[in-house]
Structures are given as structure tokens and as C-alpha cells.
Symmetry: C2
Subunit: 350 residues, 2 copies
DNA sequence: TTGTAGGCGTTATCAG
DNA sequence: CTGATAACGCCTACAA
């Protein structure tokens, strides 16, 4: 990271350096042709060691930095990859984007982030903008576009998507096992002795929300606990809806001793709702979330949850893209869901 | 947003469209020269209405989208602006970045996000990368680089920074009144009858952390409350440090009835620390944070805090950049700090 | 008003 | 192995 800076190098840095140093200037100074400089800098061909040194020296001395725009125009590769996220200000996507950054940076690629806000039309627009910017590939986190639209896009560019099961020559996907996650959360509650377990569902359009619910129902069935639709309240994956859901449950009067919220944000809202209703977590009601947001372990009380590795999701998606770009077949896989038991569902830990 | 799509327009969209449509093709189809097309599309000159129509039609029909790379190479403007954030996965920066997105998008500019992780060297690298990518301007959120380094950079490019007071021909800054924020938070606690108010400080390197502390001390002095250094514990602006700070305070044995944490993340950690120590918020200890993160109102109990408009911070910074780019002198100002009293510091609200 | 020519900084394709 | 010579797609004088 920290190469000793040769005294000859006026490394532009965040300082002066007015004129732009071009490849031609390097070529001239090194006494070779521009093409040779290009070849050396890109390792496109074998070059004599002598010229090689001369070019490297000149590059250093002049502080030459290739112009990505020109590179993109001429060569077709821009070394930037488009990343479509749904909300850059969501804790979940934030972690994922950081994973993307961390994976792309060392490879010399720059991410180009765009938010689609769960709107298919906006998502399509993102793809268009990204393609017009000539990105080398596109990663879509939790797309809302149809499989076919994504597949169509993959005909033109390497694509990696998460939250789907799509494969193709230029298409790779990474999916999380939401079903088993939902099942594990519910089984944990059942193991703790709970029989009346409420469920705060996620937005209908989210396929993963449906999977989590399926896991919930599966676990209930396995335990021979009758499914009571009245204990299932809708949510929208954000705090307010969790708060409202909890209040609905309380007001409804139907007894319940535990809540499984299909994501941490709603669990957080539900915790507040219970608190405001005078119910203690976990003494009166046990609570389990889903995602394991960075803040969940610092909630009061710390929230039990299913760990969904958002950071790794982003990182692996980016790695897969790098593989695709290198012409390889990606093999990255997401880790299996893991249950994190914390105080919110375990009275012994309080 | 939703123009009726003319039947003649095969709007590439997220679909097929193999070949790239160039400006020359549009020119040919419209029966004019490339330069005319360029002029019309950029409004660079006055053109006859007839040709104008012809070009617009051809553009539509062909679904032409100008290549930003070529545009950047030839004209110098890339319509992308670099945005240096410290951590893309922080709730505070997340909100700010969303503000940036929202302001830039309608103006036709794309943000290029990079994270510096509070490391000056990394920040310098971000600036270099961004400049090498030929962005039209750079916005730095809460820079760690020296004023002079930023000013130097502003000689080359329009710059907008937050958390500093810097002005220049190509440089604009947006600063938040951390001193008064800290003061208001403390005064609130004092008004609630508290005399022993602990303070969880922020990282030393953050200038805003020092300002908040100054506000704390100022308010104490105003109220003739002796400043007790033992009630000030260091923090790092993240949850763990708040948790540890609270435990330190409790173990220390010195009585205190309130805590002012210099940011919400630490306040959240402190809340957990108090909880684990068997202390109730606000009955035993009142708690006030700083920032008003989106999640703070859903904390258990909801956290009183000083509202720092992160979203607006980003939005206004981006707007200022747009002004700079348009050759105007920005005039955006950040709103004054506001105190939000919630249950964590008000027993009546619980 | 509008067309022509040249160039922005690289890479790629050919010869040599 | 290396050097010309085209593009890449668009913008901007300059000339008409």
C-alpha cells in the first residue's frame, strides 16, 4: 500500500500538477512508441526488459496516470462496474455495498452505485444509465425486475444478481436460504417452549419475505402447532410497520408469547411497540428478527436473529463478477443461515 | 418522468439492442451533419426548427444515447461528480449519500461514490482516482485531509466539503453548528433538573466531536455547574464505545443522573450498557444523543437527540456543487440544530 | 445557420 | 518484439 516514493516522482497527489500527462509524453521520454508504452502498462505483450524499465521510469517520473475515459473509448473496458442497490441509506444495503467496494478495489475496478428504490421502472433506468456509461458488468442486489428482463440484459453484459436463482453464460446469482432461516428462527422459539408465535410478514412483493414465512409455517407444522392466520400481521420491512404490527397484535387480544419478525428493522419497531404496551422483552414476549444488522446486537435488549451476511453478499457478488470478467465460471456460494441467540429471546441472558 | 413512448421508438431499455447507435448515425438519418446533432442535443447553438425536429425524431427512432466516455474525452465534461464518503455503510453517511443522489439525478449528473474510512491517505487516494476518472467536481463529506490539501485540490476542480469552513472561487463548504447542538442537548438535560451529567466524547480527530464537547462545557458553565473531568469518557463514535463508556461510568461509582453521548450510535450502545447494569432509561439515567439517525426514534425507549440533517447535508452539498458547475456562487446553508425530546430524557413520555 | 476538419488519450490491427 | 496507422464517439473551432 505504501511504496516508498522515489524522489524523482512528483506524484501529483491531491496537490498541484496542472497539465495532464499523456501516454505519448511517456513514450517520448522513454524513447519508444506509444503502443509499446500501452503494451507494457497493460501487460498485453512481451517487451524487452530494457524498454520496459525505461517506460516504467518515465511513468514514475512524469507521474503518469492513464485516462480511463480514453481507455474505455478505445479499448472497450472501463474498469468500472455498475451496482444497482435498492436504497443506499439502508443498513442492509450499506453493508452489502461495502462488501462490493472491498472486493472491487484491490482488483482495480470502481463501483458505480445507483439506487432503484424497489421500483422496477427505476431499476430498468439504472440498467440503461449504467450501460450507457459503458460499465464492464452489472451487479444487481435484490432485483425487482423480471427474470427475463435480467436475462436479456445479461446477453449484453456480464451480470450478477442476488436473491434469485439465475444462471447463464454471462449470468451468475447468489441466493440466500430464506426458507431455512425462517424455519430456524421459528424452531428456536418453539424450542424455548413457545406455542403461540406471532409472525410479522414482509412486503408481499419481496420473494424472500414469502420464503421466510414458508419457513415459519413449516416449523410450526413440524411441531404440530396449528397455524393461526390471526397471528400473522403484514409488514413493510421497515421500523414503523413493525411498531404498528406489534400494537395490532397486542390490541387484538389474542394471546402470544413470542414474535418472529421477518427482518430486524421490523423487530426493532416491534420491540418499541411492546415496550410502549408495557410488555417486556423477553420476559413477556420473546422476539427474533432476521438479517443481523450491525446495530441489532446493540439493541436493548440485544436482538436474536438469523444472520444474513449482507457484507459477504456484496463481496461475493463482486467477486463473482470479477470471475465472469476474467472469463471464469464463478463458484462463490453464500454461507448457510445461522441463528444468533441473544437476550431478546432468552430470559437467561438478560 | 413517463413520456408516452412513441411507437417508432424501440427504446433499447433493459432488452436487446446489439449495436451501438452513434451520433453520426443520427446525423445521417436526419440528413444533417454530426456537429448539428451535437449542437442540438447540447443546446450549444441556435438551429433551425426544421432540422431540430428532424434530429429529435431520428434520435428517438434510433434510441440514441450519447456515449459519456466519448463526451468526456472530447468535451471535458463527464457529467459525473465524485463523492468521497467516510463509510458507505454508516447510517449517517447513508442518509447523506441518498441526499446527494436525489439532488444530482434530476440534474443529469451521476455520483461516483468512494469511501475513505477516515484515513487521510485513503482520502487522498480517492481524490486522485476521482480526478483520474475526470469527474466534473468533487464533494467530500467530513474530510480528514488538511484544509490546505483540500484548497489545493480546489484549484483544479470545483469542490464542496462539509464539516469545514472553507471558501474560495471553486470551493464551498457546509458546516453544522456542533457547538450549539452540544450546548442545546446539555441545556435540555439541565432544564430537566440534572446536575451530574456525564459526557461520552467522540474520537479526538473529529473536529465536530470537540465542538460538541465545547457546547457541553459551555452549558455547564452557564448553569454554574462545575465541570468534572471524571464524568467525561472517551468514545469512538460507534456503538461498542458507547457501551463501554456507560459501563465505565457505572463501575466508576461516581453518581450521575444523565448522559449526553456525542452521537446516536454511542447513545445506543450506552443505553444497552445501562440496561445491562440494571439502570432504567430515563427513570434512573436520562440519555441524549446527537445526529438523529433514522433508527433513533425507534430505539427502546426512543432516543432524545440533536437533529443533524444528514440527508440535507448531502443534498445541499450536491446542490452547491451544481451551482459551482453552473458558474454561480452557492448560497445553501444548513439548518440550525434542533433538539428532539423523546422518551429517553423525559420520564413523562414513557 | 451549418458543414468540415482536427483532436481528446488509448488500444488494436497491421506490417516489418 | 516494435512502430505506424487507424479507429473509439463526440465536441469545438474554423470556415462557408
Amino acid at each position: 500500500m505504501k511504496n516508498a516514493t522515489p524522489t524523482t516522482a512528483p506524484n501529483a497527489s491531491a496537490s498541484s500538477e496542472r497539465v495532464t500527462v499523456t501516454l505519448d509524453m511517456v513514450a517520448k521520454r522513454a524513447g519508444v512508441s506509444p503502443s509499446t508504452v500501452s503494451r507494457i502498462l497493460n501487460g498485453t505483450a512481451v517487451v524487452s526488459e530494457a524498454k520496459r524499465q525505461a517506460v516504467m521510469d518515465a511513468t514514475q517520473a512524469l507521474g503518469f496516470v492513464p485516462n480511463p475515459l480514453a481507455r474505455g473509448l478505445a479499448g472497450g473496458k472501463t474498469f468500472s462496474i455498475g451496482v444497482v442497490t435498492q436504497a443506499i441509506d439502508s443498513p442492509f444495503y450499506g453493508a452489502a455495498l461495502r462488501g462490493v467496494e472491498d472486493a472491487l478495489d484491490p482488483a482495480g475496478y470502481s463501483p458505480l452505485f445507483m439506487s432503484a428504490h424497489w421500483d422496477p421502472a427505476a431499476e430498468a433506468r439504472c440498467l440503461d444509465v449504467l450501460r450507457s456509461r459503458r460499465v464492464d458488468g452489472i451487479v444487481v442486489l435484490m432485483p425487482r425486475l423480471s427474470d427475463s428482463a435480467l436475462e436479456a440484459c445479461a446477453q449484453t453484459l456480464p451480470m450478477v444478481v442476488t436473491g434469485r436463482d439465475l444462471r447463464g453464460p454471462q449470468l451468475y446469482s447468489l441466493n440466500f436460504d430464506n426458507f431455512n432461516g425462517g424455519r430456524m428462527a421459528t424452531e428456536h422459539l418453539i424450542a424455548q417452549g413457545h406455542r403461540q408465535i406471532a409472525f410479522i410478514a414482509g412486503a408481499d412483493e419481496h420473494p424472500d419475505a414469502a420464503e421466510r414465512m414458508r419457513g415459519y409455517r413449516y416449523a410450526l407444522a413440524e411441531a404440530k402447532i396449528a397455524f393461526d392466520p390471526r397471528l400473522v400481521v403484514p409488514g413493510q420491512y421497515h421500523e414503523v410497520s413493525g411498531l404498528e404490527a406489534a400494537k395490532t397484535l397486542v390490541q387484538q387480544g389474542l394471546p402470544f408469547t413470542a414474535i418472529f419478525a421477518s427482518n430486524d428493522q421490523m423487530a426493532s419497531g416491534a420491540a418499541l411497540g411492546l415496550f410502549q404496551s408495557g410488555l417486556r422483552v423477553p420476559q413477556d414476549v420473546a422476539l427474533v428478527g432476521f438479517d443481523d444488522l450491525p446495530t441489532s446486537m446493540y439493541a436493548t435488549p440485544p436482538l436474536s436473529t438469523i444472520q444474513q451476511p449482507a457484507y459477504d453478499l456484496g463481496r461475493l457478488a463482486a467477486c463473482a463478477m470479477l470471475e465472469l470478467l476474467a472469463g471464469n465460471t464463478p463458484t462463490e456460494e453464500l454461507p448457510a443461515p445461522a441463528l444468533l441467540v441473544r437476550a431478546s429471546s432468552d430470559s437467561l441472558r438478560v
